[in-house]
């Protein structure tokens, strides 16, 4: 019995969610193999072998894995899946896209978006926009799951796993990567940042001017509500909530956010929640640790200078 964890990389580095996925996989107390793939995996493999708890790093290198396509990752995993009783990935865009199909091809039901593993085969996962936590007993002979990375701490370095090269099946060629428009931000990534500051629609055109300086001081990622994104004040990928990114930082600062159900679903696992809103009856205050009823346009510059002085 052993576990296969699917790694994800960004350029020459592992994504933080891979560190968290390895921690999640340790719940089974079985040997863990970590699969890294790409067009050039040398640097990533060297990083991956240091993850504590990993037995073997499997490297799959092929030109067509530069921009991994769902079908190609599935073929790759299926080519070695028979050796594993457990397959685990982060519930990232790639993980969500790839894992259910791998499971279906093996005629196994996957359990997705798991926040707690109760080994050997019971899981806790949120549903109903985060309003319900369900405990699920999986009856399948192979456990295939995706985990919500923010629910698990990152694994440490300090391991020294062996590296094995595996053969890569040929490209399926049923889909083709055309382009990517990625936002290059100086800010940390939303789903792994220690601090997140997010704004609602009421910030309007001043969204960036008000939040940026504070985010820089706190080394925080910037987030936005759906209404704020829909109104065009913030980019799509900043959306925090059930249909956007789900976050669980140490500190979440909600600025001018009323606290709609679908937004709360994306933030409720944050350790400390601070809400700043001019409306004392805003529902966000029921879900926050600290509240400040104030006008955003005066209080944000104040916060910025208070942080500068301290």
């Amino acid at each position: 019995m052993s576990v296969l964890v699917l790694a994800e990389r960004e350029g020459k580095q592992l994504k933080p969610s891979t560190y968290q996925a390895v921690t999640a996989a340790a719940a089974w107390q079985l040997p863990i193999d970590l699969l890294v793939y790409g067009d050039d995996v040398e640097a990533v493999a060297a990083e991956a072998k240091q993850l504590a708890g990993v037995c073997r790093v499997l490297t799959a290198q092929a030109g067509h894995l530069l921009h991994p396509l769902v079908e190609d990752v599935q073929e790759l995993v299926l080519s070695i899946a028979k050796q594993y009783t457990h397959i685990l990935s982060a519930h990232s865009v790639l993980g969500k896209s790839v894992v259910p199909g791998i499971a279906a091809r093996l005629d196994i039901a996957p359990i997705t978006d798991v926040i707690e593993i109760k080994a050997p085969s019971t899981y806790v996962r949120p549903g109903y926009a985060g309003n319900i936590l369900s405990t699920i007993k999986n009856h399948e002979p192979v456990q295939i799951i995706t985990v919500r990375a923010t629910a698990f701490r990152a694994s440490n370095r300090g391991g020294d796993a062996e590296i094995f090269t595996i053969d890569v099946p040929p490209a399926r060629e049923i889909s083709q990567w055309i382009s990517e428009q990625l936002t290059h931000s100086e800010r940390p990534e939303l789903n792994s940042a220690r601090v997140v500051i997010a704004g609602g629609r009421s910030l309007g055109e001043e969204f960036n001017a008000l939040l940026d300086p504070i985010a820089v001081q706190l080394d925080a990622a910037i987030g936005a509500t759906r209404a704020c994104v829909d109104a065009g004040f913030a980019a799509n990928d900043l959306q925090v909530g059930q249909t956007g990114t789900i976050i669980a930082p140490e500190l979440y600062i909600a600025v001018g956010i009323s606290g709609a159900m679908q937004h709360l679903a994306g933030i409720k696992d944050s350790k400390i929640i601070v809400a700043i809103n001019h409306d004392p009856d805003a529902p966000i205050f029921k879900h926050a640790d600290y509240g400040l009823v104030a006008d955003l346009f005066t209080v944000l510059p104040e916060l910025n200078s208070a942080l500068q002085q301290s």
Binding site: V93, A104, A109, P110, S134, T135, K137, I174, S175, T245
Partner: protein
């Protein structure tokens, strides 16, 4: 070109579900249900493709009891040409749903198959990807823009730090994200007309699919709530509290 849309009669997204005190399960029997919003977005996209002359027939398919006919009538009102109901009273899991849809795809031979990126409710978010894998076709998940061509569909998808554009050969599965479109407002005459249209029903047994549940939901609970915010008087107090909590570096 034929397009198939999977439609789930799901818990209304405005409804906060309750947990049955005795069974510890989510109460679904008396809860208000409606078409899954992501499926409505899929239908709207198909209707727009048809209006542009790229699609000849839109088939909506749902799985469930007679109540699911409400969502299929909604599909008719939005512009579906045909509606199918795979009748069953069982609570099916995603893998079984994907297998049933595969059987319908074999029968109808659509070139493009739309599912929502997830259904409101359990939020599994699996069925579209499973269907594509079972069919051996490509999938464009989390679609925010699509452009249909003769033998492929160009899908722009929302990824972690922006968007990615893929070209997927037809037939293909696309899962709709929130920003694919804004569904049109349904006019009353369309709704009246939809009530008169026939819904073809297929007994689930006809499709010869293994529907045995693979996992059990043992219990459900509400997450712990915070006791409510401590109200602070000013920014200085806030900074002091954050420092106390050791979240400021």
């Amino acid at each position: 070109m034929k397009v198939l849309i999977a439609v789930k009669h799901a818990i209304d997204y405005n409804v906060k579900p309750n947990i049955h005190t005795e069974t510890g399960q989510v109460e679904l029997a008396q809860v208000k249900k409606a078409i899954n919003p992501f499926d409505e977005i899929s239908l709207e996209e198909a209707v727009r493709l048809k209006e542009r002359g790229q699609v000849s027939e839109i088939i909506a398919v749902s799985i469930g009891g007679a109540e699911a006919k409400d969502s299929l009538r909604h599909a008719y009102a939005l512009g579906a040409d045909r509606a199918l109901l795979i009748e069953t009273d069982a609570q099916l899991q995603p893998l079984a749903v994907a297998k049933l849809l595969k059987a319908i795809v074999a029968r109808e031979q659509p070139q493009l198959i739309f599912l929502g990126k997830q259904a409101v409710g359990e939020d599994y978010g699996q069925t579209g990807q499973m269907l594509a894998a079972l069919l051996g076709v490509g999938v464009g998940t989390f679609a925010s823009t699509i452009q249909l061509n003769d033998d492929h569909v160009v899908v722009t998808r929302e990824v972690d730090k922006g968007t990615q554009t893929l070209s997927v050969k037809l037939p293909a599965v696309v899962t709709s994200d929130l920003r694919l479109n804004e569904p049109r407002f349904i006019k009353l005459p369309n709704l009246m007309m939809a009530k008169k249209k026939a819904i073809e029903t297929i007994a689930v047994s006809e499709l010869d699919v293994d529907l045995v549940p693979r996992f059990s939901v043992i219990s459900s609970r509400e997450p712990q709530q915070k006791p409510g915010a401590i109200q602070l008087a000013n920014v200085q107090e806030l900074v002091a509290k954050l420092r106390q909590a050791e979240v400021l570096q």
